[in-house]
């Protein structure tokens, strides 16, 4: 009884189970967590979606679960950063039990990691995921027999249909509460003999350790550095060493290889072949071409592959502009109406100006582009979830390689079209630090979603609607091409070095689930809106304040008396405009703008554009909201240009606009992205390099673009 009370008083300690979720890449680990706990982790169809460990908490039958979602790893190696994260976690951290997620449709390959997990003395439960897909492919796995054969519970589950999830958790609890039973992983006769020899020696000397002696023996034979380090300081090492050398030699001889790791890999492989032969029944009648192979024969065709990819991208930007433009007028009209309605209820002129010209104009200018953003995000989500991403990496590797980039750089680079922050994170899939840094440096050249509003604004203002979509495509592609050239320059100068190998899994094509796409797009869109409502609103207020103060009463009185003198309405309007302009120019923001104007003058920017670029360092959406505030303050009396697009096409010359787009394309991404960049690059100095690098290129390219455009037009 007493105990019961204690349990209730302190349930967290009493029944807490910490689970490490391990599996090869792209077997649905994150998706499994999502269906177990209703969490919303990001899910995609390529290896490397989860790049860092994430913890998810949930309760089930009085048990408190902490599930740690570890990045996918093919084997216990430290090849990439993500694999290192997983390996280090499994070896060094405290957790109670491992759930090994396995792709049922590809059991043989997945068991390679499983067999390595089984040699650790940890409790393991195997989740045979994607069992629904396996059924469709006529693959049946005898889960009970498999549990018996390898001595750990194997449960059929499907993260997609949520089948078998409760059985899995029950099995985890049962396993956790049972006493440790040894998994039955057996090696070939010669290896087992050597293991027995070492175990016998350790037993004889009553060597104390948390791990089992068998485990230590296997680790020693596999050349595990940590185990070596631990035993190296023990007195028994002197005698153990010759035994080990002899044992390794025997095993290598047996496998006809000079590499003990290779020998062990072969050992695991033959064990796995045995398991697969016993438990798996595949009713596949004569290997026909699978759907994936059929699609691949078109999509990665040596000749048509790249044109098809370019066509997809072009269509995406066409749709982004065409469909995105439809609701734009309504949103614009709504904010104009909203501003007028709210403005009418506020008697105080300053407050009204703050609310209407500051917040509503600034936020409205950003919200206007939500439809475009949604379409772009849908496109990227489709690319991520179908499996096409890896195909493009395959197609482009040859091309990328010429520019000193790795084919897999493509994945962070494409992610960069959505947002630079996850792109910087996903660069972790690159093994080599040099490759990774190089990729980090050019991710910014891939125009992120936040820059889209600026492009749409300028493309809409200066080009016919039927051309604007093409212009968007050209902007994105030329940004990307420029990035490639920049990569080549960096590779030849700062990041010299040998090329990394390119070995990458091509996942099966999957039909994207509507729910998944909807969820991803919704999350990202809500984030955009949230940013508009908080960060952008605050920035708009700041911009408004800086552009309204200090008040210059003398100037106002001067002009107002002039306005009263004239009788003609038109003259009055002109004078009012002049007053607004003069007021704006002597405001704080005007002073900053005027101060920096000479720097930007060679690019053809007026002080308003200069200011917008500077506020854009905080976030690219702020460029639009700043322009919104500046032009609505300066010119809202003018009836012709009541929309921002109109104001811009009226006040900014074509050549300046082109130069402006070029700067936006190249210069530093937002503040948040810069922070993540610095973290991923590993040192603050890289941030300064990036700042200098992008600023110089942006300035030079914009200067060239401005003068060339002037010459042509």
């Amino acid at each position: 009884m007493r105990q019961d009370v204690d349990v209730k008083a302190c349930p967290i300690i009493a029944k807490h189970i910490k689970v490490a979720l391990v599996g090869q890449p792209n077997v649905g680990k994150s998706m499994l967590i999502n269906s177990v706990s209703n969490a919303h982790l990001h899910v995609g169809n390529f290896s490397g979606v989860t790049v860092d460990k994430t913890e998810v908490l949930f309760d089930y039958k009085e048990h408190h679960f902490t599930v740690v979602d570890l990045p996918g790893t093919y084997a216990f190696t430290d090849y990439t950063i993500e694999e290192r994260v997983t390996h280090e976690y499994l070896c060094a951290e405290n957790y109670d039990i491992i759930i090994n997620v396995v792709d049922s449709t590809n059991l043989g390959k997945n068991l390679q990691l499983t067999s390595e997990l089984l040699t650790m003395s940890k409790k393991v439960v195997i989740a045979l995921n994607m069992s629904d897909e396996a059924e469709k492919e006529n693959i049946s796995i005898d889960a009970e027999y498999m549990s018996e054969l390898i001595g750990v519970p194997c449960i059929k589950v499907s993260a997609a249909t949520k089948e078998g999830i409760t059985e899995l958790i029950d099995a985890v609890i049962a396993k956790h509460e049972s006493s440790k039973n040894r998994p039955k992983l057996v090696f070939s006769e010669p290896v087992e003999e050597e293991i027995a020899q070492i175990v016998w020696y350790l037993d004889k000397h009553k060597f104390y350790s948390e791990n089992s002696h068998r485990n230590i023996a296997i680790n020693l034979l596999k050349g595990n550095k940590k185990t070596y380090a631990k035993l190296h300081d023990e007195p028994i090492w002197v005698e153990l060493q010759p035994i080990l050398i002899e044992a390794s030699r025997h095993i290598e001889l047996h496998h006809d290889s000079d590499d003990i790791k290779e020998a062990f890999a072969e050992e695991y492989a033959s064990f796995n072949r045995g398991i697969v032969a016993e438990v798996l029944k595949s009713k596949q009648v004569q290997e026909k071409k699978t759907v994936t192979e059929k699609i691949d024969s078109v999509l990665i065709h040596p000749l048509f592959g790249i044109p098809i990819f370019l066509f997809f991208m072009w269509s995406l930007f066409q749709l982004t502009f065409e469909i995105g433009a439809i609701p734009m007028d309504y949103i614009d009209a709504f904010f104009a109406w909203f501003g007028d309605t709210v403005g009418a209820t506020i008697p105080n002129e300053d407050v009204r100006s703050l609310i209407v010209d500051g917040i509503i104009a600034g936020v409205g200018a950003v919200v206007l582009f939500v439809p475009n953003i949604i379409i772009l995000f849908i496109g990227i989500a489709l690319l991520e979830s179908t499996g096409y991403m890896s195909r493009v990496a395959f197609l482009l590797d040859g091309f990328f390689h010429k520019f000193g980039l790795h084919g897999q750089s493509f994945i962070p680079l494409v992610t960069g079209f959505g947002c630079s922050i996850p792109a910087y994170m996903s660069a972790r899939i690159l093994k080599n630090d040099r490759d990774r840094l190089l990729t980090l440096f050019i991710i910014g050249f891939m125009s992120c979603g936040a820059r889209l509003p600026v492009y749409v604004l300028f493309a809409g203002a200066f080009f016919a609607p039927e051309m604007a979509g093409n212009i968007l495509f050209v902007i994105y592609i030329s940004g990307a091409l420029l990035g490639l050239v920049a990569a080549k320059v960096l590779k030849l100068t700062a990041f010299k070095g040998v090329d990394e190998p390119f070995v990458m899994e091509m996942p099966k094509y999957r039909l994207p689930s509507v729910k998944l796409i909807w969820h991803t797009v919704l999350t990202k869109t809500m984030m955009y809106l949230k940013k508009a409502g908080t960060f952008i609103a605050a920035a708009s207020m700041l911009v408004w304040f800086l552009s309204n103060y200090p008040h210059n009463l003398e100037l106002t009185q001067n002009y107002e008396s002039k306005i009263e003198m004239t009788q003609i309405d038109k003259e009055k309007l002109v004078l009012q405009n002049k007053l607004d302009e003069a007021l704006l120019e002597q405001s704080y923001l005007g002073t900053i703008g005027k101060f920096s104007e000479p720097i930007f003058a060679p690019l053809g920017f007026d002080w308003k554009m200069s200011v917008a670029l500077q506020t854009g360092l905080a976030a690219k959406e702020v460029v639009v909201s700043t322009l919104g505030v500046l032009y609505s303050l300066g010119g809202n009396v003018n009836e012709e240009s009541n929309s921002l697009m109109g104001a811009i096409s009226k006040h900014i010359s074509f050549a300046s606009a082109i130069a402006f787009i070029v700067v936006i394309m190249i210069y530093l991404p937002c503040l948040a992205a810069s922070v993540v960049f610095t973290r991923e690059a590993g040192h603050i100095k890289y941030f300064f390099y990036l700042f200098a690098f992008t600023s110089i290129i942006a300035y030079v390219m914009a200067f060239i673009a401005y003068n060339v455009t002037l010459l042509i037009t």
Binding site: K261, F502, M504
Partner: protein, 75 residues
């Protein structure tokens, strides 16, 4: 000596030896590309810069340079 790079599209081969060491060897092994493994060549990118192969049920893309290190025999 025949390497994986010499293989034509849709031919099946058996791996004899991996002529590499260290990380790359580990990587290939962890993808199931090891002695005795059966490989099918699926697709070539232009100029064989990259090739797509099938090991077991897994499709893998690798560069021509890496394929050259994998010694194979026809089956």
């Amino acid at each position: 000596m025949k390497t994986l790079l010499d293989c034509h599209k849709s031919c099946k081969v058996k791996v004899i030896k991996l002529n590499t060491t260290g990380d790359l060897k580990q990587r290939l092994i962890s993808f199931g590309i090891m002695k005795e493994a059966i490989i099918e060549v699926l697709e070539h990118a232009p100029a064989k810069s990259t090739i797509e192969i099938k090991v077991g049920k897994m499709r893998i893309a690798l560069r021509g340079g890496e394929a050259k290190l994998i010694e194979v025999e026809m089956i």
